[in-house]
Symmetry: C2
Subunit: 160 residues, 2 copies
């Protein structure tokens, strides 16, 4: 039972410097590399939007998903985030410890918990959504509205 090499996780979001005079060779023609650079740029906006909340993109995604799909269980949440069940578990614990999310027993399945935002969680998520959305659009303001729409379309097409 060989241990598979740990899957790659993209690295730090310290700003990626564009060093003048350096030869980037093939990198500038790879979608993967450009995606990475753009993602770092967008993260800076996200970071500003959630400053002081100890929130990360996956945490934000999880909260939004739970809010929009009350009663979802941890396994499905993990699949949406692309992490293992044990990770979804830790994430849920973290939310619960802060009183943002609660686990409720489900009548239809004795194994699974249903996840729900608490009143406090709802308020927080509503605020976060507004802020993240505003910062996302603010950072994207270097694009015209039409360009932004086109970019979204192309990204979704690429993601399949």
């Amino acid at each position: 039972m060989r241990r598979r090499p740990a899957p790659y996780r993209p690295r730090a979001l310290a700003p990626i410097e564009r060093v003048p005079g350096l030869d980037y060779d093939v990198l500038d023609d790879l979608l993967g590399y450009s995606l990475r650079r753009a993602q770092v740029a967008m993260f800076l906006a996200f970071d500003a939007a959630t400053r002081g909340l100890d929130i990360t993109p996956p945490r934000f995604t999880a909260l939004v998903i739970i809010g929009a799909n009350p009663g979802i269980n941890q396994s499905v949440l993990g699949r949406v985030l692309g992490i293992a069940r044990s990770g979804a578990m830790a994430l849920t614990d973290w939310f619960e410890a802060r009183g943002w999310v609660e686990r409720r027993r489900r009548s239809d399945d004795g194994r699974a918990w249903g996840l729900h935002l608490t009143r406090r969680g709802e308020r927080l998520v509503a605020r976060m959504k507004r802020s993240v959305r505003r910062h996302d659009r603010w950072r994207a303001a270097v694009l015209t509205a039409a360009e932004r729409r086109e970019l979204l379309r192309l990204l979704n097409k690429l993601a399949g």
Copy 2:
């Protein structure tokens, strides 16, 4: 001297499932989220291109940069990758242990090493570049050539 909270690092590239019937709420209108999904898709192509080589995107980027800028030092390499010097150091050690990169003393600066690909490293990188490029384009084949160009343009504009 407080320790700053560790900066966020985007997570695993296990496939992100698009669960049918689930409400993604505001996520579908955020560039940050779409970028993430597209990046995961492109990583699958990268992974296929480098299978068996124990290569990751940052490792690939580092090798390309060293190959195109022989004599570059570890500090600059770190800035290009967005990692600390200690990380660039570990990366270089890793390459050196495999005989792909060597450190050479520089006449103009007694502190810094100049990084160079070995003969073996050159051959390997040349092969990797071809393969990564092919897979990148293959995965992007869901887009037309014009769409791909436009996407690259928009990403670079966004990354600033």
